[in-house]
């Protein structure tokens, strides 16, 4: 019985960091890479910790790679804009939810523990479509809409 309680206590302690504010870390940062957070734009070098509702913005020479807490890997290419709309991951149950929006540019991703546990818990929106991820590696590109015809 005592063992059981110790295990439960450990599991609870282990789960706490997952609900902290940091959801992922910038592991690769080439050229112009910034994040928009609470209305401000700051450079995002390697080591930058990301939070829900951060937007990653790259310039024409920029690309960035992020490792999320469930081991999902996401990279964005040049001239891209990717928002982390929602991210939650429970390190004990592996349950979670990941919603991001690629409003322009390119993205590559390898899904993590969350999707392995429950397919389509990761969703990527584009301005005109929604993608659910069942696994594992995929790419997305979004182009500007055509100018309105006269």
């Amino acid at each position: 019985m005592r063992n059981t309680w110790m295990t439960v206590a450990f599991a609870a302690a282990a789960a706490i960091p997952a609900f902290g504010s940091d959801v992922g870390t910038v592991k690769v940062s080439n050229g112009s890479v910034a994040i928009e957070r609470a209305g401000a734009r700051v450079a995002a070098p390697v080591g930058t910790e990301l939070r829900t509702s951060d937007v990653i913005v790259t310039g024409a020479d920029g690309s960035a790679g992020i490792t999320f807490s469930d081991n999902s890997l996401v990279s964005v290419g040049p001239d891209s804009r990717f928002a982390i709309d929602k991210y939650a991951f429970d390190t004990t149950t592996y349950a979670g939810e990941f919603q991001g929006t690629l409003s322009k540019g390119r993205l590559a991703a390898v899904s993590g523990k969350m999707v392995k546990q429950s397919p389509e818990s990761m969703k990527i929106r584009t301005p005109s479509a929604i993608m659910g991820v069942r696994g594992t590696e995929f790419v997305v590109q979004v182009d500007e809409p055509a100018p309105a015809r006269p």
Binding site: V74, G77, R106, S128, E137, P145
Partner: protein, 199 residues
């Protein structure tokens, strides 16, 4: 009335949805490094497509229609080469084994250290969690301490290697997570270990 709904549905289907200009998009499934082929689901209004083959793709056109197809490796490289290159290295786990009742590595594991350290050093900014384990010989309390001592010892070695201390966490799991399940009080070398999780 039914006709009207039908007509509305038909126009909605054709347009996908009635929400202004369409941003064209492209989606493709790639084979993972381990060869695994996953699947993605692309939805646009009433259109619902599943891509579950390597290099299978869907293109969303300006007209709002999805078109399935296959993309060549060359086109993936041309469009996504820079993007794919920015993907972080996948997380890795290394296991090293210890002498009985000790925080000293086995000779075999000592011989593996260089290879593992080299692999860790290739990452620009590793996040490392070292988790120590024991076999079932001894009390739970003793094994909790021993497993943490093993993890702390490995943490010191990683810091000596040049990994910033704040990037390495050490935890002990005692005898709770046996690699090889055994009864209590069983000597089992494969359970005397640390796992080094690197991200």
């Amino acid at each position: 009335m039914v006709k009207l709904i039908g007509a509305l549905l038909a126009s909605a289907l054709a347009a996908g949805c009635a929400c202004g200009p369409v941003s064209p998009a492209f989606f493709a499934v790639l084979p993972a490094p381990d060869g695994h082929i996953g699947a993605i689901v692309v939805e646009r209004g009433f259109q619902h497509r599943v891509i579950h083959t390597a290099y299978g793709s869907e293109r969303l056109g300006e007209d709002g229609a999805l078109q399935g197809g296959e993309v060549s490796q060359a086109e993936v490289q041309a469009r996504f080469g820079t993007t794919l290159q920015a993907l972080p290295a996948p997380p890795a786990t290394f296991t090293l084994y210890f002498l009985e009742d000790s925080d000293e590595l086995t000779p075999e594991s000592k011989a593996e250290l260089d290879r593992i350290f080299a692999e860790i050093k290739r990452r620009p900014l590793p996040d490392i969690v070292v988790i120590g384990h024991t076999d079932t010989v001894g009390t739970n309390e003793y094994n909790d301490r021993l497993s943490l001592a093993r993890a702390e010892r490995m943490r010191e070695m990683l810091v000596e290697l040049g990994i910033p201390p704040e990037r390495v966490q050490a935890r002990g799991r005692g005898e709770r997570e046996l690699l090889v399940p055994t009864d209590d009080e069983v000597r089992e070398p494969r359970n005397r270990r640390v796992e080094i999780n690197v991200r």
